[in-house]
């Protein structure tokens, strides 16, 4: 059975294209119709791409996803220094081993995980599949599930297009549909 683990670790522990220190800036550029991926450390990114420190490693859609999440679930603190009270997992441990320690880690490290999830899952940020019966799986009719899926996709688009107003409206619609 295949393990995506090693490719995943490669990405997370990627070295800077320029100076071989840890890459924290991941850029995709279209040059002459070809997709070019760049992985740079903070310093080289500032020099080469003129990306100011502090914002470069945070893609715009992540910022906006967090904006929406913060509004829908209550603001979360920066998690990088957090340690899971259940299993003892810390973010640097995860970056080392590539595996999370318990079910609570997803919510705890939500902010840090989001850009990684987007990269691993073709930009996706939300589950659209099966829901266990115990978690209300049978309580949600298929039609409503499909509607929710559509709304979430539209929300993602609105966020990518920086349409905050529409994003806020869609967020409220999703809230209503979920309740």
């Amino acid at each position: 059975m295949e393990r995506p683990g090693s490719a995943w670790l490669n990405f997370m522990n990627r070295k800077c294209d320029n100076c071989k220190s840890q890459a924290t800036v991941h850029l995709t550029e279209i040059k002459a119709g070809k997709k070019v991926e760049k992985h740079l450390c903070q310093q080289c990114a500032e020099q080469q791409e003129g990306i100011p420190a502090g914002t470069a490693h945070t893609p715009i859609n992540e910022l906006l996803t967090n904006f929406v999440l913060a509004h829908s679930q209550g603001a979360k603190e920066l998690t990088t220094n957090a340690v899971c009270e259940h299993c003892g997992m810390a973010w640097p441990d995860f970056k080392q081993g590539g595996l999370l320690g318990c079910e609570h880690d997803y919510a705890l490290f939500e902010k840090d995980l989001t850009p990684l999830l987007q990269r691993a899952h073709d930009g996706a940020t939300h589950h659209l599949g099966k829901v266990p019966v115990r978690r209300g799986g049978s309580g949600v009719p298929m039609k409503r599930q499909a509607d929710l899926a559509r709304l979430r996709k539209e929300l993602q688009k609105a966020i990518e297009g920086e349409d905050y107003e529409r994003a806020a409206k869609l967020r409220d619609q999703i809230k209503t549909a979920e309740s």
């Binding site: 059975m1 589950h127 019966v133």
Partner: protein, 351 residues
């Protein structure tokens, strides 16, 4: 049912009679699940690992997932048995080689297997012969529902099913098809498959051998993204887009060989058959290489006196652990190569 019962026959998925089975050997759907209230395995103590294994084993055996279910405790199983299960695609290599409390439940037909304490608490798998992804999904979904009635799986409304590695989160589904693509290899067009897969964000790897090298011309194509798409969507992409495209490439390559390079094609096929029927020492790589050409010849009607099932079985039975089980003692080196050659000769000359 005992483990030794497995050595004498091929699993359901290798019968080679499913839809489009001349190219699609098998379809597999796998689900990753963890039980809520327990740490993922990397943060488990030995004791917790054992507790989880017992809980899940009881749940599986209590859920009657198949009329007869065999549960193998892998912590105590001999190496040759663990290797045998790998060769039969019932457990992963890491699961065979890791340590601590772990096991696997296997249905009698071998189409269902559930690994316990692999990377996640549960890895459910349904394997079927030929192109049967929808059927495999329906079956695994039903088993998942049965297990869910006694086990509370870790789940989050936004992230879906929670897995140890974030690359599996969401549906936790890994859909894959095993393809035999000898003509694309012979015509030097296998790159087409890699390109098509990349466009669809799918992973391709050789079934035997390392990396992109594919001994026996077997390739496994599987999805990489598990979040943001429903299970049905992922499967219909495979069934409707990926599989037909690759099958068309392989069919085209087979037609080209038949029309423009008939003598070269027949030479490959019958040279392989000749060696397989006569050789006295057979290494495993050479076996895969020759069986691949023979399989192509049988499927294209160039070889008429050999049943495709015989060829499929030879791929399975000539692997090291299977040979060892058949002979009943540990063998290697020339003794193993001689046993493999003899086994092949018997099967092909009896036909």
């Amino acid at each position: 049912m005992k483990l030794t019962d497995l050595t004498t026959r091929a699993g359901e998925w290798l019968r080679g009679i499913g839809p489009m089975s001349e190219i699609v050997i098998s379809s597999r759907v796998r689900l990753a699940r963890n039980v809520s209230g327990y740490h993922f395995l990397s943060k488990c103590t030995r004791h917790q690992r054992t507790t989880i294994e017992h809980k899940i084993r009881d749940a599986i055996l209590g859920a009657s997932i198949s009329p007869k279910t065999l549960y193998v405790d892998l912590q105590d199983a001999p190496e040759v048995d663990r290797q045998l299960l790998v060769e039969r695609h019932l457990i992963s290599k890491p699961h065979a080689q890791s340590e601590g409390a772990r096991g696997v439940a296997i249905s009698e037909s071998e189409s269902v297997s559930i690994m316990v304490n692999e990377e996640d608490h549960l890895r459910l798998q349904v394997l079927r012969s030929g192109s049967q992804l929808e059927e495999a999904w329906e079956e695994i979904n039903e088993i998942d529902n049965k297990l869910e009635s006694t086990l509370d799986f870790a789940f989050h409304p936004r992230f879906g099913y929670l897995t140890a590695c974030p690359t599996n989160v969401g549906t936790g589904i890994r859909v894959s098809v095993m393809l035999h693509l000898p003509a694309l290899k012979l015509t030097g067009e296998i790159e087409k498959v890699f390109r098509a897969a990349k466009d669809m964000r799918l992973a391709v790897r050789g079934l035997y051998g390392e990396g992109t090298e594919a001994l026996g011309d077997f390739y496994q194509v599987s999805n990489q993204t598990t979040l943001g798409k429903s299970e049905e969507e992922i499967i219909s992409d495979f069934k409707g887009v990926v599989i037909p495209k690759i099958i068309e490439y392989e069919h085209h390559a087979r037609r080209t060989l038949l029309n423009d390079r008939t003598a070269a094609l027949d030479d490959k096929v019958f040279r392989a058959l000749g060696i397989l029927r006569c050789a006295r020492l057979m290494a495993s790589e050479e076996t895969l290489y020759l069986l691949s050409h023979l399989r192509l010849g049988v499927n294209m009607g160039r070889v008429k006196d050999i049943d495709i099932r015989t060829v499929n079985e030879l791929f399975l039975m000539t692997q090291p652990a299977h040979l060892q089980k058949l002979i009943g003692k540990k063998i290697d080196g020339d003794v193993r190569r001689a046993a493999r050659a003899e086994f092949i000769r018997h099967r092909l000359n009896a036909a």
